[in-house]
Symmetry: C2
Subunit: 205 residues, 2 copies
Amino acid sequence: MASISVRSVRRLSLYRRFLQESQAAGKRHLFSHDIAATTGASPAQVRRDLMEVSGHGSPRQGYNVAELIDALSRFLDAGTPQPVILVGLGNLGRAVLAYFAGRHPKLRITLTFDIDPAKTGRLLNGCPCHCADKIPELCPAHGITMAILTVPAAEAQPVADRLVSAGIRGIINFAPVTLRVPPGVFVDTMDFACSLETVAFFLRD
Amino acid sequence: MASISVRSVRRLSLYRRFLQESQAAGKRHLFSHDIAATTGASPAQVRRDLMEVSGHGSPRQGYNVAELIDALSRFLDAGTPQPVILVGLGNLGRAVLAYFAGRHPKLRITLTFDIDPAKTGRLLNGCPCHCADKIPELCPAHGITMAILTVPAAEAQPVADRLVSAGIRGIINFAPVTLRVPPGVFVDTMDFACSLETVAFFLRD
DNA sequence: GCCTGTGAAGCTATTCACAGCT
DNA sequence: AGCTGTGAATAGCTTCACAGGC
């Protein structure tokens, strides 16, 4: 497989979500410019991205929605569902947990961790919360490779280090910190302070 | 001013935050490779980005931390503090509100909005919550141009439309939806479902 | 010696433009 | 006629490499 860029994969994920919404709304066929319009890409880019998943469209009617969703899912999803952990059950952690609850068939938060004894041992959104000390034991035991990190900024790097040594190789980081991780570990930081500053900058003309 | 890319501005914002932390830790001088190492950029990129703000470093000691923070702030910040509104006080909205409370000298959430009467009329983190109906009245009255959108996915586009007609020109969107906005309005979507799928993809080899 | 600042090169991503199809 | 799929062209971003300075 020719190596595909992070940005293309991200767009493919976006296209799939839009296609699923369209399907729910009763659409059977869509053109590249339809997908482009509501996902913010150009029609040419949609077609080029879709080359990677080789879901063929017809010139007459465009893309068959159901077929394309299947092709995208085969491309994007692993065969088996992937368990994900969430570390840090503050406001943000609970919000993210609630957001993901039961939403994605292939990516489910199956365990959560916190250091606060008041939170451990309970269920939140049907999901057990363990003491963060258990990370090195439970992650390998459950074959978990992905984590969502919603701990305070000061904790983020040390917790990330522990996650990595527990076998985690993908992290969605909500702390306003650039994590240092070894090669082969993927991190995506949701840095909204940075986003806000960036948007603010471009409002000044 | 030569036009600068969104990505450069984002990195500059990241550099500044790192410099502020370094300053708090007692650092007076830093080299481009120090900044690069902890922000995930290359040293050459740091230097190139910093060309834009023309904060001059010396070959002997690198960059003077205090001077560079000043230069970055002059570049990134508007002269006066910028008020920001937050719309949608669910779990996520409250988490984001708590996160920003008092954190940024130039960007402050000054008003929040929700449609739930149980939430309106109260203070959250010292910030008054109004009924969403008041957006068209209050935003222009307070000269607000930026919004953080933490409403459910189905509400995001209609609310965004109302924000735009109330004069909002920058939106940080947390809903898993690509917003359609007129030219001149900046949107940054924090799409963590998408991020998680993308990270998951690259873990499969 | 080892840094910064920067032109130039190299690389990646996006768009163009058109052949081929229905 | 109007779409898809795709090679070619363009635009944009990142790194190289080195002159200049301490």
